[in-house]
């Protein structure tokens, strides 16, 4: 890779990496795992940078890799990641809605990912589907089920996703 490509990747990385780490964290609820998933996604992106950099939205590509990797990791997380490795917010950190986060953590990984992309990244259902590599109707089902479960857990009313 030439110096110009290095520079454009570095710029891309600095812009997108924090967001991808945070999104991965919200899916995995584990800081170390989130860092690793994000780094893996960006390493793959760098490996294919000559091609990816020409895409309309390289940020969507790296998220697609990261989210799918995060879902895969999350599915095995209960087997591999000890409970102690979860990053619980400390009292020194900003206040966190612990009940909500526990309820989100209890969701199946795909539903969790859909919730994070829809609510945290503020993406429309079509983009959630694109990143999760599923149809819009499947993404909608994930969101609907997630919200239903969250409302049950948190005792709040739920309206449908449009």
């Amino acid at each position: 890779m030439d110096k110009q490509s290095d520079a454009t990747f570095a710029m891309f990385f600095r812009t997108e990496y924090p967001g991808v780490v945070r999104t991965a964290y919200l899916v995995l609820h584990d800081q170390e795992a989130a860092n690793d998933v994000a780094q893996d996604a960006f390493a793959k992106t760098l490996s294919h940078w000559g091609r990816v950099s020409r895409y309309d939205r390289p940020d969507a590509w790296v998220r697609k890799v990261a989210i799918n990797r995060a879902i895969s990791v999350a599915r095995r997380q209960k087997l591999h990641i000890a409970a102690s490795s979860h990053t619980e917010p400390t009292t020194e950190q900003k206040p966190v809605d612990l009940d909500l986060m526990r309820a989100i953590r209890a969701l199946p990984p795909a539903q969790r990912a859909a919730v994070v992309l829809f609510y945290f990244e503020d993406r429309p259902v079509a983009q959630v589907a694109e990143i999760m590599d599923c149809s819009p109707s499947t993404a909608k089902v994930h969101l609907h089920r997630a919200r239903k479960r969250l409302s049950e857990q948190l005792g709040e009313a739920v309206a449908d996703v449009s």
């Binding site: 570095a10 945070r22 795992a33 960006f42 490996s47 990816v52 609510y119 409302s151 709040e156």
Partner: protein, 342 residues
């Protein structure tokens, strides 16, 4: 506040607690992209090199280290443009090796079989891994793997890692007495080989392994007496390797066009064939790679593969040897993966 509002606000608050180390992680990502594993096999013996390894000296053991470790030889050579990192004086007292990729060696059938999924963060290449972590994950067994992976282990359940030490490229492992319980001669050799293959990876710069049981040095393992009086190397257990061992991709992982198939093989004329099967079992790409040695000797192979699919799907990477007699696939290694489209 509505449920939607609460979810949004809660996620933003939780995300605020994450402060990525952007510049540090950019370096890690760059190095990870360049990292390629290679196992160098020298005439009749294993040469373990640090080519392509991403080594940090310093840092903290993530695994519960049970013994003090001696400094690992300080210099490591970065291949593929990777870094050469020497320990600083501050690093030396608490040395630990971090590496990006590593295999645990389990068994499949009656041969050794490499696997990465048993690591605490199997999918998480780049997580700090130490010799203790590798060993701990190895003795933990194969419960992590689904039955279809076919993984097994000859290391008895309940085996504990009591100590781990590296000096002059020789690892000394102290295992509990469960390690020598049960099993016949093949099982004894296999469990020793599992430890040896797992610890003698280039990233670790470990060439051989000495064994202790319950804190006492031993010259033999088990009643069948596997001689371990000298440091054990991969060359001592090559006969337990399958004709083809695929080290990448690992089963169950994502596989993108442009990635590599890697492994070690001892096949006719060093020619390793591969093919990619889609979700319906149809072949969508094929090719071959040439190992660095063949027809009676072990060589490593790596080949970049290209395939085209219109949607992500379950698939299979098959690596095999074509029969010299009729061209039929033999010694087939099937790796179920998710074929990922970009």
């Amino acid at each position: 506040m509505s449920l939607d509002g609460r979810i949004r606000q809660g996620l933003v608050q939780a995300a605020d607690s994450v402060e990525p180390n952007v510049e540090g992680d950019l370096m890690k990502v760059t190095q990870r992209a360049r990292t390629r594993r290679r196992i160098q096999w020298a005439a009749g013996a294993v040469a373990v090199a640090a080519i392509g390894a991403f080594l940090f000296l310093g840092g903290t053991d993530l695994f519960d280290a049970t013994g003090d470790t001696n400094p690992i030889p300080p210099a490591s050579t970065g291949g593929d443009g990777g870094p050469t990192i020497s320990p600083t004086p501050e690093d030396s007292p608490s040395e630990a090796v971090s590496l990006t990729l590593a295999d645990l060696w389990f068994t499949r059938g009656e041969v050794l079989f490499p696997d990465t999924s048993g690591l605490p963060s199997a999918e998480l290449e780049g997580t700090k891994l130490t010799g203790e972590m590798l060993l701990g994950a190895l003795v933990a067994g194969t419960d992590h793997a689904p039955p279809e992976a076919g993984l097994s282990t000859s290391i008895p359940e309940g085996t504990k890692v009591l100590g781990f030490d590296i000096a002059n490229r020789i690892a000394t492992v102290d295992l509990s007495s469960e390690f020598v319980s049960g099993g016949g001669s093949l099982s004894m050799r296999m469990r020793v080989a599992q430890v040896v293959f797992t610890l003698t990876q280039e990233e670790e710069e470990v060439e051989g392994v000495l064994f202790e049981i319950d804190g006492e040095p031993v010259d033999a393992i088990g009643g069948e007496g596997v001689d371990v009086s000298d440091p054990q190397t991969r060359a001592d257990y090559e006969d337990l390797l399958p004709p083809i061992a695929v080290t990448s991709p690992n089963w169950g992982t994502y596989f993108v066009s442009g990635e590599t198939i890697e492994g070690i093989a001892n096949v006719f004329e060093a020619t390793v064939s591969w093919r990619i099967l889609d979700e319906s079992g149809e072949e969508i790409a094929n090719g071959f790679a040439t190992a660095t040695c063949g027809t009676g000797c072990w060589g490593d192979f790596t080949t970049e593969v290209e395939f085209s699919i219109d949607h992500s799907q379950e698939g299979t990477v098959e690596v095999f040897e074509s029969s010299a007699e009729n061209g039929e696939p033999m010694n087939v290694v099937s790796v179920p993966v998710t074929l990922f489209t970009d």
